[in-house]
Amino acid sequence: MAYAVNGGRAVFSGLDMDIPRGRITAVMGPSGTGKTTLLRLITGQVRADSGSITVAGQELRGLRRADLYVLRRRMGMLFQNGALLTDLSVFENVAFPLREHTDLPERLIRQLVLTKLQAVGLRGAAELMPAELSGGMSRRVALARAIVMDPEILIYDEPFVGLDPISLGVILRLIRRLNDALGITSIVVSHDVQEISTVADVVFLLSGGKVVARGTPQELQSYPSDVVRQFIGGLADGPVPFHFPAPDYFGELLARDEDA
């Protein structure tokens, strides 16, 4: 599969991935490798320029908007910042997909919402507004909302960014528990090597628009590749350069002097 931004810089070229059903798959890679773009491709928010993407047995290419929406009902997605609807309370946020897609009686909606909020430990916060929640709480509410329709696929976009160790541990445990209890296929995009290693079954490491490594977290620790070693070891410079492409340093400094 290949994808380029506005027909310009290629984000992916020749990307080939297969995500196992019912497992937790981590997608890692340096910032700017297009991890979030990959999620947008998988969810059909953007279309690939060439190649094919198959989700739950359905080819996304040429899928009509209505069919894409039907497919999305089987997916849940946790956004980086939670993306809660700010004009609705926590309860109404979690109830939102149910109200939009089902005609369930109010009593049943209430029970479903409270069950999901209980699962993320926030039943007591049901009447709060999103502005009253901390970052970790928002993400947990968003998680409750993502699972309220009992999806088959759950996608997490950078779920650990900016969380304190306690909230981080809670989210990690929730990812594992949801996967074990409901058999959901989980895709976690992250660059937190340590955290993700504790929950992921399979790890894909992306760099330069391609998969550079695939394996269990343990296999990746001893992977025979410079890029993988640089990423896992957190080294500043290596195959992934520290510097953004730029003209010669001294040349540019001297040129500025002459201009002045």
Partner: protein
């Protein structure tokens, strides 16, 4: 030469923009019938765009009417026909000032609120989250706000005109001493249904224009703080220019 080139490019840019807005309008119209079923969402938006703008509309209506009473009295007194003040003020308010000033205030109060709300929803991924929940944000968020504005605007214009007429009466009759009976009876005799219709048509069209510009700018705002700010500013500026331009066209059409 460069000036002509720049003028040409800004003209084509404006035309492309207009085309995009029209396409967006068609998209809104296509989903509107289904969105109309959600009466609760629309009434909430009528409240947001209409009821919350009431104070500013009523106050402005009162002051505009009072100024009209004062100026009209000064002018008409020269010709010894102060009794026509009711007619003059009402025609001015119902046909011109009511729709135009209300639309300008509406763009400033409700239009900016709409644009910044939608822009922030875009910036905080709320619209993407809706799409991911298989809920069309155009149908769930944009159309109710658009329809709320379209419904609220003529009502606000009508309230503006009524309060304005009372403002003119307050100054003309109560302070300047125009005869109350002739103020009202001349008005009733001279202002026809055609004048009222002109006001209604204008305010409906301004309502569509203002709401459309606001939701378009907000929905397509760049998802940054700067982008949302720019969308809000553009909403007011574009709305104001369009209102005055459309007002000329409509006035000419009604002659």
């Amino acid at each position: 030469m460069k000036l002509i080139q720049e003028l040409w490019s800004s003209l084509t840019e404006a035309l492309v923009g207009l085309g995009a807005v029209m396409r967006f309008l068609l998209r809104l119209v296509a989903v509107a019938p289904r969105a109309l079923l959600r009466v609760d969402l629309i009434s909430q938006q009528v409240y947001n765009a209409g009821a919350l703008s009431l104070v500013i509309i009523m106050l402005s209506g009162l002051f505009v009417g009072m100024v009209l009473g004062l100026q009209g009295f000064q002018l008409l007194q020269r010709f010894g026909s102060e009794e026509a003040l009711g007619t003059a003020a009402t025609i001015g308010l119902v046909k011109e000032l009511g729709p135009v000033v209300t639309a300008l205030l509406f763009a400033g109060r409700a239009g900016t609120a709409l644009a910044s709300e939608l822009g922030l929803m875009r910036a905080t991924d709320q619209l993407s989250a809706m799409e991911m929940m298989a809920v069309d944000p155009i149908r769930r968020v944009v159309v109710p706000r658009f329809l709320g504005g379209v419904i609220a605007m003529p009502l606000l214009a009508a309230i503006f005109s009524v309060i304005g007429i009372y403002g003119a009466q307050l100054v003309g009759v109560q302070i300047m001493g125009v005869d109350s009976g002739s103020f009202w009876s001349q008005m009733r005799g001279a202002v026809g249904l055609r004048d009222i219709n002109e006001g209604i048509v204008k305010s409906c069209i301004f309502g569509v224009a203002c709401s459309l510009i606001a939701v378009y700018e907000g929905y397509y705002a760049e998802p940054t703080a700067e982008g949302v700010g720019r969308a809000t500013t553009r909403t007011v500026v574009t709305s104001a220019v369009f209102i005055l331009f459309l007002d000329y066209l409509l006035t000419a059409a009604f002659l």
